[in-house]
């Protein structure tokens, strides 16, 4: 078996990094990425401050969660990549087992069985962990192969991705299922999956769309898709969210109604204003300028993340870090597209801004891994 991955190699982009052992290298963090993340988090908290409408307890809880998420990031950054490589298969199998357990023993919240509870101790969503463990498993699988991967390995990778993604989608949690699939698939794309096959796959899916519509999608999912094209068909039911969120964003105009001045969210017309639909609050109160600012921050994070990934010392590190960055993008794209009415409503939060802890912790841990693969050179 080749030991190539365990040789210390220098990437062509590594020159600056070797020039000295800067303090942040010793701390295994990247100040630019951390700075950008902090800006997004701060921006998000300002908006959340408005969206919680005076509920101090909610706001404090979110500050606490984000602090935990930052700690998770720093912790994940300290762990050297070869540890991730070693535990990747185990992590994946554990996650899969947990998903199966959810299937049988899970706690049902809002009609969807997503949570696993250890009574008195903790309660978590195994599907959330799969966002990390699936790309890890795929990267682990591919790092030993010659890239670009051959068809055989691609099929194997798809199996690794599809099993948990389908199980999660059936919980039903379509949003997380899509994200898990996207996270795993992005590894394949970064590993050199032929574009031609990607195009064929997309064409194939389009051809199979009627079948998917008929046999895969549940009634409410179909309704959400129909609503996307004609929200007025059911203005008080499925269309309500879309009508209210586009109204909120549209009424904000270029510069917004001003912070804390959003009537749509303040008067409770906007559903889920703190969580999945928070971008509508930003659009209403801070306008086009505000949303563009946030999207620019996101773009900078993605650019920086890919830059760091490219400088990783191993294929595993590169693939893993790159896929986390792309997953982050899928998050924000699906969320903003859904709230602005160009994708059906699926439960995907706006990364680092929406109220809620689990996804923030997962995402920040992912960024920790990105910094880990960049800053740990000696392995």
């Amino acid at each position: 078996m080749s030991n190539a991955d365990f040789q210390r190699t220098l990437s062509p982009y590594d020159a600056a990094a070797t020039s000295g052992s800067r303090w942040y290298f010793r701390l295994h963090i990247d100040p630019i990425l951390v700075g950008l993340l902090a800006m997004v988090v701060a921006f998000g908290l300002v908006v959340l401050r408005s969206a919680v409408d005076g509920n101090e307890a909610l706001f404090a809880a979110q500050v606490q969660r984000l602090s935990v998420a930052f700690l998770a990031m720093i912790f994940a950054a300290q762990i050297p990549p070869h540890f991730y490589l070693r535990v990747a298969p185990l992590f994946y199998l554990l996650g899969l087992t947990a998903l199966v357990l959810v299937f049988f023993f899970g706690v049902t919240v809002k009609g969807s069985q997503r949570w696993l509870e250890v009574p008195g101790l903790l309660r978590f969503q195994p599907s959330e962990l799969m966002k990390l463990s699936v790309p890890m498993a795929v990267a682990w699988y591919l790092q030993r192969r010659t890239l670009p991967p051959s068809l055989k390995y691609i099929v194997a990778c798809l199996a690794i991705i599809a099993v948990p993604a389908v199980v999660i989608g059936r919980q039903p949690d379509l949003g997380t299922g899509i994200l898990v699939f996207g996270a795993g698939f992005s590894v394949l794309l970064l590993a050199g999956l032929s574009w031609r096959w990607v195009v064929w796959a997309i064409l194939g899916i389009c051809a199979a769309a009627p079948l998917i519509w008929q046999f895969v999608l549940e009634g409410y999912q179909r309704r959400r898709i129909l609503t996307l094209f004609n929200p007025e068909s059911d203005p008080l039911g499925a269309g309500w969210n879309i009508i209210q969120s586009t109204t909120a964003i549209g009424s904000g105009g270029l510069f917004g109604k001003g912070l804390f001045q959003g009537t749509q969210s303040y008067l409770d017309f906007l559903p889920e204003a703190r969580t999945d639909f928070i971008v509508a609050v930003i659009g209403e109160e801070l306008g086009f300028v505000g949303v563009s600012f946030l999207l620019t921050l996101y773009l900078l994070i993605i650019a920086r993340g890919l830059w760091l990934a490219a400088q990783a010392g191993s294929t595993f590190g590169r693939l893993l870090a790159g896929s986390f960055v792309l997953t982050f993008f899928i998050y924000l794209f699906v969320n903003v597209a859904m709230v602005s009415g160009i994708l059906p409503v699926v439960g995907v939060p706006l990364p680092l801004v929406s109220y809620g802890g689990t996804s923030a912790i997962t995402l920040m841990a992912g960024f920790g891994v990105i910094m880990s693969v960049r800053t740990h050179k000696a392995w």
């Binding site: 080749s2 008080l236 964003i249 549209g250 270029l254 993605i302 294929t315 590169r318 790159g322």
Partner: protein, 643 residues
């Protein structure tokens, strides 16, 4: 295994990654560009559309119900007030699970099964799912508090505060003042939908119904900012409603109370008029109902009990009860006889207690007739025929008169018409005539019909209101002043009180002299005051009410048969069922010389007019005289509305 052993080319893989990452980054930028375009679409190009949609979302124009005008009696006692009440309202479109909501409300508010059924029923009839539908009225403060605490559990459940009618005198004035009721769909179609858009009650009976337009007022508007659940967050702009006008009635609530007391639970009616103004001083129909029940809401069961009772408490006997007037009709027949020169005050007949039409078998009896004693009043003139209530005298008089003359004369007193100015639903009664009989019964007019009519029987029907008007006309010595409830109307500012002119009509202007009227008044005075004259010399009512009276009054009793008593049989109250017994009538006015009150008393199936109805009338008159005296003494005698 070959692949496994292949040497990985790190540099090539790095280059592949960089190329892939670059491509994907470009894709990311393109997709973000799509989002930016979408945002520009919403926030720049279509901004105006969404802006107005958001404003529309936010603000709603709400209508504000005007405060209903209040109703006072002649002395300023409040008869119909407005009170603040909290009602439970449900917004259909916000309620996902009605049975669950109802069961939760049942726990919180201790609803009875009837109330639960009522909610379900009203919601199933709900016409607009987005408007609050009031399902329970008159919540207690405790219930309101419980709802407030549990508001988050009850989407679509609202507490609505509104002014609702309150009738402080309850049953006492129910038939006089009337009542409001919750508006129905039918009501909406008969009123201006804009003016009534915020109104939930509409006058349904009595004064409340007739003066609905004046009492209602004008609707107001407010622009409010609402949240998605329809709750008002703040008011932006208000156009206040104009309250309805206040009414002052002729009604004397203290006399009304005395009248109810005088009937002491007997089924019947009392109408008292001020003969000078036509003002209705008292209007009683017993049994009555509590008009507040129509406001605070009653269950369907309670309503069906009320409406199906054999004693018909919802029925206004005073204006809609039509009864044979019996002997109270005799003064009209007497005056008609004088007016048509059929008789004179001096002319006498010999009353032997029975009367037979020429060439007929049938014997018409006097009221005093018994099997053992043939009865009869002896020699009677018109004066004696009135105070002794001789049937035979009037049998004879009527058969000598043209029936059309009697019919016309009775009509002039208001019989057969509704002359009440502001009670359009009052019944007209019936004065039969040959054409009517031909049409209704397909039979010709027999002389026997005239005989029956002469003592107020047969097909003749009159309401207590009409008989009070008859008393009023005689009290006025021929002047008919149409009865009315309303004395004045005001829109709150004192200067705009408008008094209403009452039309006056003189009856028998060409044919009856002042002396004729005085003679009739004297004869009716004798009914009460002529006493200690020995056997068949006293007025019919003297023994019952004439012996201890401190003022002069006039009256006439009547005892109206309900079922026909067969030839040769005696009326035996014990043998007849409750509803077949005779109706007791008494019409009266006082003081004799300068009357300030004229009234009619009817006691349904009560028995003798003099023994049963006359004491009731006396009690009402006593109360009236006492009230007047007390008010004059305390200087509170409000000027009687001049005619």
């Amino acid at each position: 295994m070959a692949v496994e052993l292949a040497i990985k080319d790190q540099n090539r893989e790095v280059a592949l990654f960089v190329s892939r990452a670059t491509t994907l980054f470009v894709l990311v930028v393109l997709l973000l560009g799509v989002l930016i375009l979408r945002l520009l679409d919403l926030q720049f190009w279509d901004h105006d559309t969404y802006k107005s949609r958001s404003d529309d979302n936010r603000t709603r124009v709400q209508t504000l119900a005007p405060a209903r005008g209040m109703i006072f009696d002649r002395n300023g006692h409040l008869l119909a007030d407005n009170q603040n009440a909290s009602s439970l309202a449900l917004v259909g479109e916000r309620i996902t699970d009605l049975p669950q909501t109802v069961s939760l409300l049942t726990q919180l508010l201790d609803l009875t099964p009837e109330q639960q059924a009522e909610i379900q029923g009203r919601m199933s009839l709900n016409r607009r799912a987005d408007k609050p539908m009031i399902v329970i009225d008159a919540l207690s403060q405790r219930q309101v508090a419980r709802l407030a605490v549990n508001r988050h559990l009850l989407p679509g459940v609202q507490v609505v505060n509104q002014l609702v009618r309150f009738y402080p005198y309850g049953e006492v004035a129910a038939h006089a003042v009337g009542s409001v009721r919750r508006m129905t769909l039918d009501d909406l179609s008969s009123v201006d939908p804009v003016q009534y858009s915020a109104t939930s009650f509409i006058g349904k009976r009595g004064v409340e119904a007739f003066y609905e337009q004046q009492l209602h007022g004008e609707v107001g508007y407010q622009k409010v900012e609402r949240d998605a659940l329809g709750r008002v967050r703040q008011t932006l702009d208000v156009q206040s409603p104009n309250p309805g006008q206040d009414l002052r009635l002729h009604l004397d609530i203290e006399l009304q109370q005395a009248s109810v007391k005088a009937l002491s639970g007997k089924r019947g009616a009392i109408v008292a008029l001020d003969p000078r103004s036509g003002g209705i001083l008292a209007l009683v129909s017993e049994p009555a109902y509590d008009p507040n029940m129509f406001v605070s809401g009653m269950t369907a069961k309670a309503f069906s009990q009320l409406s199906s009772s054999v004693y018909v408490p919802l029925f206004n006997r005073a204006v809609n009860g039509q009864y044979a007037p019996g002997s109270t009709f005799k003064p009209i027949v007497g005056l008609a006889g004088i007016a048509t020169n059929t008789t004179s005050w001096d002319q006498t007949i010999d009353d032997r207690g029975s009367f037979r039409l020429p060439g007929q078998e049938r014997i018409y009896r006097d009221w005093s007739w018994t099997k053992d004693d043939s009865g009869g009043q002896g020699l009677v003139d018109l004066n004696r025929a009135i105070y002794r209530s001789s049937n035979v005298y009037f049998y004879d008089l009527a058969t000598r008169m043209e029936i059309d003359d009697l019919v016309r004369f009775a009509g002039a007193f208001g019989l057969g018409h509704n002359l009440v100015l502001d009670i359009p639903s009052a019944s007209p009664g019936l004065v039969p005539n040959p054409q009517w009989k031909q049409g209704a019964k397909n039979l010709p007019w027999y002389p026997g019909d005239s005989v029956n009519m002469s003592i107020g029987q047969g097909d003749l029907l009159a309401t207590p209101m009409q008989m009070a008007l008859v008393a009023s006309v005689i009290a006025n010595r021929g002047d008919l002043v149409a009865p009315r409830m309303l004395a004045s109307i005001s829109d709150g500012s004192e200067d705009t009180q408008q008094s209403l002119e009452a039309p006056v009509k003189k009856i028998g202007a060409e044919t009856l002299s002042a002396e004729d009227w005085e003679n009739m008044v004297r004869a009716m005075g004798d009914v009460v005051h002529r006493g200690n004259q020995g056997f068949r010399g006293n007025g019919t009512a003297w023994a019952y009410i004439g012996q201890d009276i401190g003022y002069r009054m006039a009256g006439k009793s009547g005892t109206a048969q309900v079922v026909e008593i067969r030839q040769g049989e005696e009326y035996d109250e014990e043998q007849l069922s409750e509803f077949d017994r005779k109706h007791a009538w008494f019409i009266a006015f006082a003081p004799l010389e300068n009357p300030t009150i004229a009234l009619a008393v009817l006691v349904e199936n009560g028995g003798g007019g003099s023994s049963v109805a006359a004491p009731v009338a006396r009690a009402v008159l006593d109360a009236h005289m006492q009230l007047q005296q007390a008010r004059r003494a305390s200087g509170k005698d409000l000027a009687v509305v001049a005619r």
